[in-house]
């Protein structure tokens, strides 16, 4: 009983999320139900305007933990969604919420089509819905709903992505599946044609990203999972090109010696540099960020190094970068464990030199920026973190919460054979004749 209660409480913790505008005009951080946006372009915190009836200026725009945020490829749209079963679509010029879509279940992932016409979101039942952004903003009704287009059979969808060419919608789930589906011109009739399945992960898939470069315009897919691997895929065929076992990296094992081998640390997020040469990997309970180099002509991934943050136990929960700048934005944090604690702790760090085709530049130019050197300066951090200075104690508590929450979020509970048999003891088919 106690065990179940613990489990329940831990899953209630939501890791902090970060999203970077494609041209780095603004940065968004979500911690718990709090959505914080800083306008880097003009250098001030953005004020969110939500006209929906229940909202007033003193409360957060979301009522429960936010589970997914992202910018559209063009940067003019932003979507946030989560446990309050609301999907909010924002215009990034005014930060006004243009539509609020109701979901039947909690939302676990969102995506915006590259042309900005459609928003897709996935719920806890594994169903993906689509809404037409233009049509939606014209509707006056408060009961806006999505049209179901595809489903993973009762598996939580962890990530939704549109391929860079916009032809496919890619969905990953906690059952190790990655599904690549043709996204038709009119998706409101459903997306029934499956292009491929990318199968190879042995645990949940936590994150997806694409790599491509000028020499290799055809994009490949990068995925990270609970099996402690990062994999490179040709997603149009479902062919696994390379597997990088990041959990077996030496530096990582040293920093985390007490961990038993049976539970390899899960990859929590991946992010690719805009030139397609680097993959940043956030790993559960790894203090710092791992960098992989991606060789698109040889189709390989290889570990370069782990960059850790000095004097800070910084374990990123979410990472992001723009498509123009060489900066990797990282956030660490979690929604507060007890609701009495009003402010949610989040720490934002920025890595510079996040691109570059040769090893030397990676070796010399990657650097964790000091707080004062972060774009926009300390004002940025003040907004995104909630406060500039974070008490060490609060920081460590957050680190601990993040460790357990990240894993229990998606890992499947294992029971022993004996325990399963014991629970079946009363069943008719188990009685011996």
């Amino acid at each position: 009983m106690q065990e179940d209660a613990d489990q329940h409480r831990e899953t209630e913790v939501a890791p902090a999320l970060i999203a970077v505008h494609p041209a780095q005009q603004s940065i968004a951080v979500a911690v718990g139900s709090d959505l914080r946006v800083f306008n880097l372009h003009e250098g001030y915190p953005a004020k969110l305007v939500d006209d929906s009836e229940e909202h007033n200026a003193n409360t957060n725009v979301h009522k429960h933990s936010i589970r997914a945020i992202r910018y559209g490829a063009k940067g003019n749209l932003f979507v946030s969604a989560g446990d309050d079963k609301l999907v909010k679509i924002w215009k990034t010029d005014s930060w006004r919420c243009t539509s609020t879509v109701l979901s039947e279940k909690r939302v676990s992932a969102v995506a915006i089509s590259n042309d900005g016409l459609y928003v897709c979101f996935a719920d806890k039942f594994g169903v993906v819905y689509v809404v037409d952004v233009e049509e939606l903003s014209k509707q006056s009704s408060t009961n806006k709903k999505g049209v179901p287009i595809l489903a993973h059979y009762c598996s939580i969808i962890t990530r939704l992505e549109f391929s860079p060419d916009g032809r496919f919608i890619i969905s990953a789930d906690r059952d190790f599946k990655i599904r690549v589906t043709v996204f038709p011109r009119n998706p409101l009739n459903g997306t029934h044609e499956i292009q491929s399945f990318c199968l190879g992960h042995t645990e949940f898939v936590s994150s997806l990203a694409f790599v491509r470069s000028l020499d290799h315009p055809q994009a490949f897919l990068v995925s990270g999972g609970g099996d402690s691997t990062v994999r490179l895929w040709d997603f149009t065929t479902g062919c696994l090109l390379d597997t990088c076992a990041v959990g077996e990296h030496e530096g990582f094992l040293q920093s985390n010696g007490k961990e038993d081998e049976s539970s390899l640390p899960a990859v929590t997020d991946v992010c690719t540099s805009h030139d397609g040469s680097l993959v940043a990997v956030a790993i559960q309970s790894l203090a710092g960020i791992m960098l992989l180099s991606c060789n698109l002509s040889a189709k390989t991934l290889s570990i370069i190094k782990v960059i850790s943050v000095s004097e800070e136990n910084f374990i990123p929960t979410s990472i992001g970068s723009s498509s123009t700048e060489r900066l990797l934005w990282m956030v660490m944090g979690a929604s507060s464990l007890n609701s009495s604690d009003s402010t949610c702790v989040a720490r934002v760090r920025v890595l510079s030199g996040f691109s570059g085709s040769n090893m030397e530049s990676v070796e010399h130019e990657t650097l964790i920026l000091d707080d004062k050197d972060v774009p926009g300066g300390e004002v940025t951090l003040e907004k995104l973190q909630g406060s500039l200075l974070i008490e060490k104690q609060a920081f460590n508590a957050a680190a601990e919460a993040v460790k357990t929450a990240m894993r229990n979020l998606l890992i499947k509970k294992q029971y022993t054979e004996e325990r399963r048999e014991y629970r079946k003891r009363g069943r008719n088919d188990k009685k011996t004749i």
């Binding site: 169903v127 009762c154 044609e193 499956i194 399945f197 004749i433």
Partner: protein
């Protein structure tokens, strides 16, 4: 998996006259929750499916794998395996597999196939069975366009609306079935529950990648007759004078981008 020696005289779970396993020793619950997390091994990808276990005579050693030959028929929720046994004779050159979620039933079919192979040397080498949740793991077993026929005979009706998402035929799951079926491949469904019959038909009708077979095509297809006669469930319905509802559809090619 199938290596267990069966001695009809010594083992009471096998019938003395036919050498086949006796059903009363494989009592199973009628329903199994397809939504629960699975605890049986699942191949990570279709390339990991071990044909040597399932078809030992056709694939004698692990070393020389005949890439050309693949499973082409899948009986989803095969139950006690009546259809597979019927099909095995009708299509002796085709590899087929039954997929069943209930472990006891799967065990029965396994023993049944083994016993049939022993009593009829050279026959029934092309059938096998696997315990799995086909609603979740179909893409782990078959490549894109690998299957020629799929069977859904007398599936669990799940009457309550709350449980409709547990039905094995749904608009969303048909996407996955369409993925593993070759263009021109055929999906067979039959039930004795009118409400479910209409549900399956309407799902297939609404799906853009399936079209109904014409009456003439149904007449000419020898498999259609087996649907109501070969399975244990079908025989039970026939005994009780019940009515059945079929829906047979063909996989057609997708919309052009």
């Amino acid at each position: 998996m199938l290596e267990q020696e069966c001695n009809a005289n010594a083992n009471p779970t096998f019938s003395k006259s036919t050498g086949l396993p006796r059903k009363r020793f494989y009592r199973a619950r009628a329903h199994s929750n397809p939504l629960s997390d699975s605890h049986f091994p699942i191949p990570i990808a279709p390339s990991e499916v071990d044909y040597t276990i399932h078809y030992p005579q056709i694939f004698p050693t692990c070393g020389e794998v005949q890439d050309s030959k693949k499973i082409e028929f899948a009986d989803i929720g095969c139950g006690f395996g009546g259809l597979l046994i019927g099909l095995s004779i009708l299509f002796p050159e085709t590899l087929m597999i039954g997929m069943e979620l209930r472990d006891k039933v799967t065990e029965y079919v396994k023993e049944r196939i083994l016993a049939l192979r022993t009593t009829n040397p050279g026959q029934y080498q092309n059938v096998s069975v696997v315990r799995t949740n086909s609603m979740k793991y179909i893409p782990n077993f078959f490549r894109k366009g690998q299957l020629k026929k799929m069977f859904f005979l007398f599936p669990d009706p799940h009457f309550k609306e709350k449980n409709h998402r547990r039905r094995v035929i749904s608009l969303q799951l048909l996407d996955e079935y369409a993925y593993v079926l070759a263009v021109g491949g055929i999906i067979y469904t039959i039930t004795d529950v009118e409400e479910l019959g209409e549900w399956m038909k309407s799902c297939l009708e609404r799906h853009p990648l399936f079209e109904a077979l014409s009456a003439a095509e149904l007449q000419d297809d020898p498999v259609v007759k087996l649907l109501s006669t070969a399975t244990e469930e079908g025989q039970k319905v026939a005994r009780n004078g019940g009515q059945t509802y079929q829906a047979v559809y063909r996989r057609i090619s997708g919309y052009q981008q």
